[in-house]
Amino acid sequence: MKIHEFQAKQLFRQAGVPVLEGIVAKTPAEAHAAFEKLGSSVAVVKAQIHAGGRGKGHIADNPQQKGVELVRSAQEAQAVAEGLLGKTLITIQTGPEGRRVNQIFVEQGCEIVRELYMGIVLDRAAARPVLMVSSEGGVEIEEVAEKNPELILKEHFDPAVGIDAFQIRKLCKKLDISGPAAKSAGQFISALCRFYVDKDCAMAEINPLVIDSQGRMLALDAKITFDDNALFRHPELKELRDLNEEDPAEVRAADSGLSYVTLEGNIGCLVNGAGLAMSTMDIIKYHGGEPSNFLDVGGGANTQQVTEAFRILLSDPNCKAVLVNIFGGIARCTTIATAIIDASKEVGFNVPLVVRLEGTEVQEGRQMLADSDVEIITATDLTDAAKKVVAAIA
């Protein structure tokens, strides 16, 4: 689960990770008031969307309006807010369709002496979280990793203990951070590592991380992703979810315990199991088609879930044919057959339907479909299924 920058900074403040004062605004008038309340000579107005690259991104139809702007008066803050709120912001991470800006964050300015990058992610190979710091702040870290990997310093830590003091000293030495800034860095880094563990983060990224003229280390940006599997122990975090930022079809699927991802193509897929679902997309593409979604109905899907899955698939206007690929293990082919028959009565299939069933109760499932009046193109194996569904829309 992702959250907004202003939410992440509220959590940082509670956790002792230093941030600047800031106020969230939903109207231009609120932005005006926020600037006055902050009382600093400069402030930064930032669009709040769940995507990076906002500073370089711009509003659709208005390339002059960037997603992040420096302002020097309440009037300017209000004007920038007018340029952003209710508009669509396009960044390198949003794709061409962009994201609607529903709120902005007005934050105090500061005198930046240095810009750095800091992130914590899980290092899967080491089976531990890893803190990454780079002197190359403000730029895409993927680019640094590609071109100058030696500029990214890494320290693994044990979540039960947190990062050790000597690890922070090593980092400061290599980054040439000393004096009051080193002390500030020590507090910042240990608080951030503790935060990562306490809140079950999947990723915490601060870019840029700055040192200001007073020697303070501050999080100028904050991008947090939480481990969805651990949200059960953080009910307070669940409330930070912003459904406006998520694909409605994906939200609807998740509510029914289905795993769904919208894609660009026109062949809908309904599959059991994530690996098989991905491979089904792959084989459709291999035979010249384009999948319109990834959909894993899960191992133990029941008829209601599968019927809902069909509703979601068929509500996508791009979907011109459907491929059902089931290898029954716990999920029985008869369950799927029942759902196909139910869905055809309830929503009706106005597009060609190719079905490939294998595994548990396959004979009974195939018979049920043959006995029904649902129009089905039957496939014998994966290749046959992919070829038939591609041919069906040709």
Binding site: R124, A230, L276, A277, M278, S279, G299, G300, G359
Partner: protein, 292 residues
């Protein structure tokens, strides 16, 4: 011969009083697995599927001499259940549970690696030595005793591969579902070592997917140390970056973990890579014909 489990394996089910635990305990028993008991804290003394239920794994091991367990405990308690099994000295632990928090697994991983136990999963279908012992949720009848060692990060995709190798008359020595999470107890390399020294295994099929770098690490190991024919398939060539594809571990992040990188690493190691999921069985045939 086979790896990890056989006719002698004595199996417990942790979470046996839940519906999934009871259902699959029955399934494993019907397959011929020696199921010897179950564990659910607070339910000791009951019987499920004609098997005794114990409060703790320690008690269950003392009473039944169990040396393997399958875990169906819900995600908030799954890590604790695995730790209990390690503590009780269980040799083979198959954690079926999906949705275990990843930081819980950081702790479990460290403990299990420092122990004599082998953890399979979590978020996996389990493991099976056809005709001898099934520990997990896979449909038993698609398997056939034979010569291919199968390992995979995916459940149903493994069934597909097993089905293909059975239909080609190759059969399987042992099939292991590694699990779809970012941190799992056993990786490809651990199993390559076991399959390499197992006389029944004549060829190895590894099924991977996008995300992480386990396949690349395995490819380097195969290149250096495996003498048996190896075939592979990687799921997710068409997956978009930044999106979690069902499995918590199946995500391309920061441009890393793509299928094309993995395929290139595997091919460089002399592994036959199936172009589509329909070609996994024939890829094994080709690997055998080609030799190493």
């Amino acid at each position: 011969m086979s790896i990890l489990v056989n006719k002698q394996t004595r199996v417990l089910c942790q979470g046996i009083t839940g519906s999934a635990g009871a259902f699959h305990t029955r399934g494993c028993k019907e397959y011929g697995t020696q199921m010897v008991g179950g564990v659910t804290p607070g339910k000791g003394g009951q019987m499920v599927e004609d098997l005794p239920v114990f409060d703790t794994v320690e008690e269950a091991v003392q009473a039944t001499q169990a040396n393997a367990t399958m875990i169906f405990v819900p995600p908030p308690f799954a890590a604790d259940a695995i730790l209990e099994a390690i503590d009780a000295g269980i040799e083979i632990i198959a954690a079926i549970t999906e949705g275990v928090p990843v930081l819980d697994m950081v702790r479990v991983y460290e403990k299990v690696r420092a122990s004599n136990s082998v953890l399979i999963g979590p978020n996996c279908p389990g493991l099976i030595t056809p005709g001898e012992c099934k520990i997990g949720i896979m449909p038993g009848y698609i398997h056939q005793p034979g010569k291919v060692g199968v390992m995979s990060r995916s459940g149903t995709l493994t069934y597909e591969a097993v089905w293909q190798t059975s239909n080609l008359g190759l059969g399987q020595s042992t099939c292991v579902g590694l699990g779809g999470d970012p941190i799992v107890g056993t990786n490809y390399i651990d199993l390559f070592k076991r399959f390499e020294s197992d006389p029944q295994t004549e060829a190895i099929l590894m099924i991977g997917e996008i995300g992480g770098s386990a396949e690349e690490e395995a490819a380097a190991y195969v290149k250096a140390s495996v003498t048996k024919p190896v075939a592979a398939f990687i799921a997710g060539r068409t997956a978009p970056p930044g999106k979690r594809m069902g499995h918590a571990g199946a995500i391309i992040s920061g441009g890393k973990g793509t299928a094309s990188e993995k395929v290139a690493a595997l091919e460089d190691a002399g592994i036959v890579v199936a172009p589509t999921p329909a070609d996994m069985g024939t890829a094994v045939q080709e690997a055998i014909a080609r030799g190493r």
